[in-house]
Structures are given as C-alpha cells and as structure tokens.
C-alpha cells in the first residue's frame, strides 16, 4: 500500500469541504479523482502532499505519517515551472536539493527530458515553451526525483484537444513503462476512463466519496469501444449528469 487516506475531514473556517474521505492506492496504481468543481479535489491533493493539514483523520505514505513528504511529486495546474530556470534547470531543481552530483544530475535530467519527449529543449525558458511542453517539463521535474507517488492537479485542463490527446497517450505509455503510482485530478470523464485503473468519484460540498470505479480494460484503450463508453456513462450517472 503506497497511500492510505483514513477518515479525513477538512474544514476551512468552520465550513466542511471534505468529509470522511477513505481510500488507498496500491503500488503502480493509476487513479483518477473526479467530481464537481469546488468539491475539494485540489484540497485533497494538497492534504496528501502535506501542504495543508487535515482537520481530522490520517494520511499515510508508505506506512509513515510524517507531514514532510519528500517522496511525493506534485504536478501543479499549468505546471508552475520556475520561469527564471530553463527546462533542464527546472528538472534539476529537486535533484540539486537532494545533493546529487552535477554529473549525475546532468545525466538524470537528460533521461527525464527524453522520457517526456522534450529532447533538445534543455535551454528553453518556460515562456518559450507551449502549454503542453510546459506540462511535460513539470512532469519530468517530478519523475526525475523518482517519487513514490505522483499527484497531478488537472494537468491537461488548459491544453487544446489535440495536444491533450497526444499527452494522454504519452502518459499511458510512460505509466506502462515505469509503473509509478499516480493520482490525477480531472473533471474530464473521458480522460479519467482513458487513463486510470480506478476512478474516485467525489460529491459536491461537502466532498464525500460517492464510489470508486475499478477499470480493468487493457491499456492503451480505445475511446470508441463499447465497454469504454459504458464506464463513461456509469461515472457520468454517479455525477448526476
């Protein structure tokens, strides 16, 4: 068990945003968190990453309860790259903090950039990259630290349709290759069914887990298949649409 969330409540100024959240992620699981906007999805990710503390309940990573969680990689909405660092320097940021030698850093950064198909973009600053490329750098920046768990908050929400499809496809390829544990927030049901083994559906305020839908279809998936669309319909009905 990589992640265990037990009975977590979160209140902001006395207002309950998340209530009784309980779920767990196995190693190598690719999970999606979905639900209405304002339902507390970002809040849940921030709780797991240790950026904020729960009002009650426990969050364990690899069986440990500590607040500081260096083994979690967090990919923010829009990427949140450091604009003053080049793509390569952005990717190297976490490695530098871990005291890894310059030579090894260079090798690992190159490997990570290759992995997200950004070979040759080392020297580009974030302002010189497209939205999709920025997300790829953000992903490489956490992949390179080999985290136990990768959290992603609506990573592809701002991308256009084609870039989005392409990056989803690459995401699946990457997951098949490295088998990292991923929890990704999306409000796009199609994306959730395409990517994940498990969809955690959250209700609106206070956010509670409505259902955890397991998906056993083989990867990579075909969007037009009947079983694909049956799952889509089921998740949509859970969200009351």
């Amino acid at each position: 068990m990589v992640l265990m969330v037990e009975n977590v409540d979160k209140e902001f100024n006395g207002e309950c945003v998340l209530k009784g959240i309980t779920f767990s992620l196995e190693e190598g699981e690719f999970a999606c968190l979905t639900g209405p906007s304002g339902g507390g999805k970002t809040t849940l990710l921030r709780l797991i990453a240790g950026l904020i503390a729960p009002t009650s309940g426990h969050i364990c990573l690899d069986g440990s309860l500590s607040r500081a969680k260096p083994d979690i990689g967090y990919v923010f909405q829009e990427g949140a790259l450091f604009p003053w660092l080049t793509a390569a320097q952005n990717v190297a940021f976490g490695l530098k903090l871990r005291g890894i030698s310059a030579e090894e850093t260079r090798y690992l950064v190159q490997e990570a950039l290759d992995m997200v198909e950004l070979t040759g973009f080392d020297e580009y600053y974030p302002k010189e990259l497209s939205g999709g490329m920025r997300m790829r750098v953000a992903l490489a920046r956490v992949l390179v630290c080999k985290p136990k768990l990768i959290l992603m908050d609506e990573p592809f929400g701002s991308l256009d349709f084609r870039t989005r499809n392409k990056i989803q496809k690459d995401m699946v390829k990457l997951w098949l290759r490295l088998k990292p544990t991923i929890l990704i927030v999306t409000h796009n049901i199609d994306e959730a069914v395409y990517l994940s083994n498990k969809i955690i559906v959250l209700s609106s305020r206070p956010g509670q887990i409505v259902e955890q839908v397991s998906i056993t279809m083989d990867q990579p998936r075909i969007r037009t298949e009947k079983s694909f669309n049956l799952i889509r319909e089921h998740v949509l009905s859970l969200l009351g649409e």
Partner: protein
C-alpha cells in the same frame, strides 16, 4: 505522429527563440513614427525660429557642438565634463541607495511583521521631497571637507531610495505562492532555501525596474540639489548661466542634455535588465 509534430512545431520554426533574441538586440532601427516625430519637431522649431522666438536649429546645433568639443569659455569646462560631475554624484548616491533599498526591501518584504513595524517611519519619510533634506545635510556634514558633495549625495540617495525600496518590497511580497509550494514539494523545506532559490530569483525583474525608476528620480534630484551647491555639475551650470544673464540657448542645451542623459540611462537599464533576466517577458 502529426500531433507530435504540432507540439514540437515551435522548435522547427525557431520563431520563439528568434523573437527573444531580437528583443535584446542593442542596435534597433527606430520606427518610422520616431523619424516622423523628429522631422515634425525640427519643422515646428524652424518655424518658431523664423518668427524670432528661438534660436534656429542650426545655431543651436552649432552651439551644442561647441559646448561639447571646445567647452564653455566662462568655466573652461566641456559639456561632458560638467555632465560627468553630476553623473558621478548620481552614481555614488544612487548606488548607495540601491544597495540599502534592495537589502532592506528584501528583508521587509519577507518578514511581514518587520514591515508592519517599519511602516510608520517609511510612510512619513517617503512623501518628503528629497530637496528638503538639503539644510539637514549641511548641518550634518558641516565638519566634513566637502560638505556640498555629501549633501548632494544625500539628496540623490533620498530620491533614489524609495522607488527602488518600494519595488523590491512589492515584488518580494507578490512572489507567486504556487511557485513556492512547487519548490516545497520538490524538497525545499527550509525557509532559507525558499528565499535563496525562489523568492530572490523571481524578484530580479522587479528590482531592476525599481533601479530604473530610482535612477530617474535620483537624476531629477541632483539637478535640483546643484542649484544650491557649488560643485560645477549640470544643475549648477544651468543656474549660473541664468544668473550670469540671458544665455538662453546654452540653458536649453543643458536642459535637453539632462533629458537625453536620463533617457539613455533608462534605456541602458532596460537593456541590462533584458540581459540579466532573459527569462522574463519584458
């Protein structure tokens, strides 16, 4: 495969890189609007000269070249030497001001309670016109060998300090919190790491524009401060031209030179800023 090409399209056309390179190119050919403005200005000026209101551009240009190369016979100084004196005062005063403004601005931007503590003093000192410090300076520096020099330094200091200080405090306080969280999740747990690796680098463009406005205000102040002082800077020159009576063309040349130098300094700081913070969308 085609989608893949679209995502990478930027690289093949190289337009993004090209643009940022061009924007830091020093020798930019002025736009046609600028040429038109210069031409129109000359036309109006010539018309006014014909009416006998001012000296013609030709006479004016001649006098300007004369001041530049041979110098003013009354003072035995060229325009550049006079300018140099003022620039020297400016650079010393503003340099000191920037060193203090940036360091204290970072501290006060970072430690909110320190900012709240100092706020009352800063709020009272900021609206004081820098020239108001001249008498205070003369009293303070009366014992020093060159009181006028120090008074002028002090005035420039007062003028250059606040724009730079304000910009620094503001830019440090407005660091994107998401970027700070990104650093934290990547392992920057200590405040010192956040300050050195996130807040300071992201503050660089803000500090540069603070330096830019500080230099501008400092330049305005030195001209005023020299009206009362004795060192032969450009302000003192303008004032004594007036007192000696009449030499309107020289006064105008001096004033326009002050504007020209101010403009050039501004451009230089912008260029340096683009060099230093190439990553920023200037």
């Amino acid at each position: 495969m085609s989608q893949f090409n679209i995502d990478k399209g930027i690289k093949s056309s190289e337009n993004v890189k090209g643009q940022s390179w061009r924007s830091i190119n020093i020798l930019k050919w002025p736009s046609w609007e600028r040429w038109a403005a210069v031409l129109a200005g000359l036309l109006v000026w010539t018309a006014c000269a014909r009416l006998g209101l001012v000296a013609s551009p030709y006479i004016f240009g001649l006098k300007f070249m004369n001041l530049l190369i041979i110098g003013d016979p009354v003072y035995n100084l060229t325009l550049l030497q006079i300018m140099g004196t003022s620039l020297e005062t400016l650079l010393i005063g503003a340099g000191l001001a920037f060193a203090l403004a940036v360091s204290s601005g970072i501290l006060l931007g970072y430690f909110r309670s320190l900012n709240r503590f100092a706020d009352v003093f800063i709020s009272i000192c900021r609206p004081i016109p820098p020239l108001a410090w001249i008498p205070v300076g003369y009293v303070l520096f009366a014992q020093l060998p060159q009181p006028t020099f120090w008074v002028q330094i002090m005035v420039v200091f007062m003028g250059a300090f606040f724009p730079c200080f304000n910009a620094t405090v503001h830019t440090v306080q407005s660091t994107d919190p998401i970027i700070i969280e990104a650093a934290q999740t990547l392992g920057a747990r200590r405040q010192r790491q956040i300050l050195a690796q996130v807040i300071l680098p992201s503050a660089v463009p803000g500090i540069i524009s603070g330096v830019r406005s500080g230099l501008g205000v400092g330049w305005m102040c030195i001209i005023g401060a020299e009206f009362v002082g004795a060192r032969m800077g450009i302000g003192a020159y303008i004032w004594s031209l007036y007192q000696l009576g009449g030499r309107m063309s020289e006064i105008m040349i001096a004033i326009l030179s002050v504007g020209l130098i101010g403009y050039l300094m501004n451009e230089i700081v912008i260029l340096l800023g683009r060099r230093i913070a190439r990553w920023y969308s200037w």
